[in-house]
């Protein structure tokens, strides 16, 4: 295994960043599409079916033929997909309005803070332990060099994730303030209060894995949580998962906790005055945050790149026949599949539970989630004391 020079390792890191950005920008539009479809299906509708490929081009020709024939077209289900392209084009091409009385600098920088803090979190997330792939030897400049499964394998990865995610609240608060308008300010204040309070149980629910594994490195933690725990390490994991997921919903401002942009109370909340690509940044940041929260839940509680969730993999592995040993190994595809399932859960919950009132949101955080998270931490400490 050749040792890369400094320049080579920088180039490899850049390539990893590119891969992560590609992953994010593939997953996010698909989530937006899935949101329309899944919400539609939950309400016994079909979701978006209305753009392009059902009407123009080869697929349109096929579809029209099938309608004439009296059949529902095969491509029917996917007809909404070009709508994503239309959406993105609309966001990019729309006029970017800045209110006359707005604080221009802060107004400009707020969506950037949201977006950056959402994307940068991925630096500490490792998709698969060890080497992700190795460049083939014929590859120019980087031939034979390994690419690891995460960008930065730092020892305090969890703290990095929590810290950078907590910087994301500035985007929303500053956007609300800089718009110089009533509803955005109210939305910004609400969301600041909500996000700061939910950070407490969120961090506490993540402390249980820290206690169980004795590490702060994302890769180490997911490996230990998936394979290194005894059978009754399950209890703090499941409870912690539920608490974490609830806080994650609140932290990403999704229903049932979407206080910052409660449509029927605050028009559109903190981004009422935003348009064009600045609004697009907030929109993207929300979905990227969802992906991040899903990635953390998948990594810490659902077994990360291993197949089975909640540490069951470690119990199963000794009995796994050698024929099926592929399922005992970590694979990035399991991780991505879990992320996608959790993103689906986001939409599922959105379609099921109505929004909480503001005081209810706060009481859920302070009266229920924090004591439960503390209890969970106690359980984890007991498991750590007597079983690990």
């Amino acid at each position: 295994m050749p040792i890369p020079t400094l320049t080579q390792s920088v180039v490899i890191t850049l390539i990893q960043c590119l891969l992560v950005v590609i992953f994010v920008f593939v997953v996010v539009p698909l989530t937006v599409f899935a949101e329309r479809k899944v919400l539609g299906h939950i309400q016994q509708r079909l979701g978006s079916t209305r753009v392009a490929s059902g009407h123009i081009g080869v697929t349109g020709w096929m579809n029209r033929g099938m309608w004439k024939w009296g059949r529902i077209p095969i491509l029917s289900y996917w007809r909404g997909i070009p709508g994503l392209v239309a959406d993105v084009l609309k966001l990019i091409l729309k006029e970017d309005i800045i209110p006359a009385k707005a604080d221009k600098f802060v107004f400009f920088i707020a969506p950037a803070i949201s977006m950056v803090s959402a994307v940068v979190v991925f630096a500490a997330i490792s998709f698969v332990p060890g080497t992700f792939f190795t460049f083939p030897t014929w590859f120019p400049y980087l031939g034979g060099l390994p690419v690891s499964g995460g960008i930065a394998d730092i020892n305090v990865g969890l703290l990095w994730i929590l810290g950078v995610a907590s910087v994301g609240v500035y985007g929303i608060v500053l956007a609300g303030w800089a718009s110089n308008s009533k509803y955005p300010l109210l939305g910004g204040l609400r969301s600041a209060a909500q996000m700061v309070s939910y950070e407490v149980p969120l961090a506490m629910s993540l402390l249980a894995p820290v206690v169980l594994t004795g590490s702060l490195n994302f890769g180490d933690m997911s490996a230990r949580m998936a394979t290194g725990l005894p059978a009754w390490g399950l209890a703090p994991q499941i409870l912690g998962f539920l608490i974490y997921l609830t806080c994650g919903f609140a932290e990403t401002n999704r229903l049932p906790f979407d206080m910052p942009e409660a449509e029927n109370e605050l028009v559109a909340g903190f981004h009422t005055e935003y348009s064009g690509m600045k609004f697009g940044f907030f929109y993207l940041a929300e979905y990227i945050n969802m992906t991040v929260v899903s990635a953390l839940a998948a990594g810490f509680f659902l077994g990360g790149p291993w197949l089975l969730p909640f540490g069951l993999q470690g119990l199963l592995n000794p009995y796994l026949p050698s024929l099926l040993s592929w399922f005992g190994q970590p694979h990035a595809i399991f991780f991505v599949a879990k992320i996608i399932f959790l993103l689906f859960t986001y939409i599922w919950v959105r379609g099921t539970i109505p929004r909480y009132r503001y005081d209810q949101v706060m009481s859920v955080a302070w009266k229920y989630l924090i004591p439960m998270a503390l209890f969970n931490l106690l359980l984890a400490a007991l498991v750590r004391c007597f079983a690990v």
């Binding site: 400094l6 320049t7 802060v106 810290g163 907590s166 609240v169 600041a192």
Partner: protein
Amino acid sequence: MEHLLETIGRNLFAIFGVMALGSAAFMVASRSAVHSVLGFLFTMLCIAGCFLALEAEFLGMAQILVYAGGIVVLFLFVVMLVEMSKKSGAQVFQLQSRYAVAAVLIGAALFVGVFRKVIFGAASAEALVLRPGLAQGLDVAKQNAQAVSRGLFADYLLPFEILSVILLVALVGAVVLAKTERV
């Protein structure tokens, strides 16, 4: 290329330090309170960068988590709620300038008092490193979260607890100041 990257890597501390000083100057100089808070936020992030450049990862992350993520948000909250525009500019802090000078003097004296050994060269920085008994079985350079926790909860437990009392004093002081203003 290689040389350039190496130079940048070796001077990361200086780069972050200059950036921190610059944004701190912006914080003091800017007229808008929210801009000041933004400058403060950037200062905090740059200080975290300084810690990272010194390979004190845990401290850097704690800096981001506690200051950038928690305390500055509260500052922002207060600044947004308090109407600053009515008393504009330099008028605001003029009354307290005498106290400010006194505070700076006391602070400087305390700083010199605490770090006198380091400043006047009687002890090197190694005095602050974990003692070998505690560092047993730890790779301090790699696991500095564990090293910090061992130090905090063994040798420095009393100063750590006293710090929380000092924070309490600050809180009580803030309440007192707010009360006198209202009457």
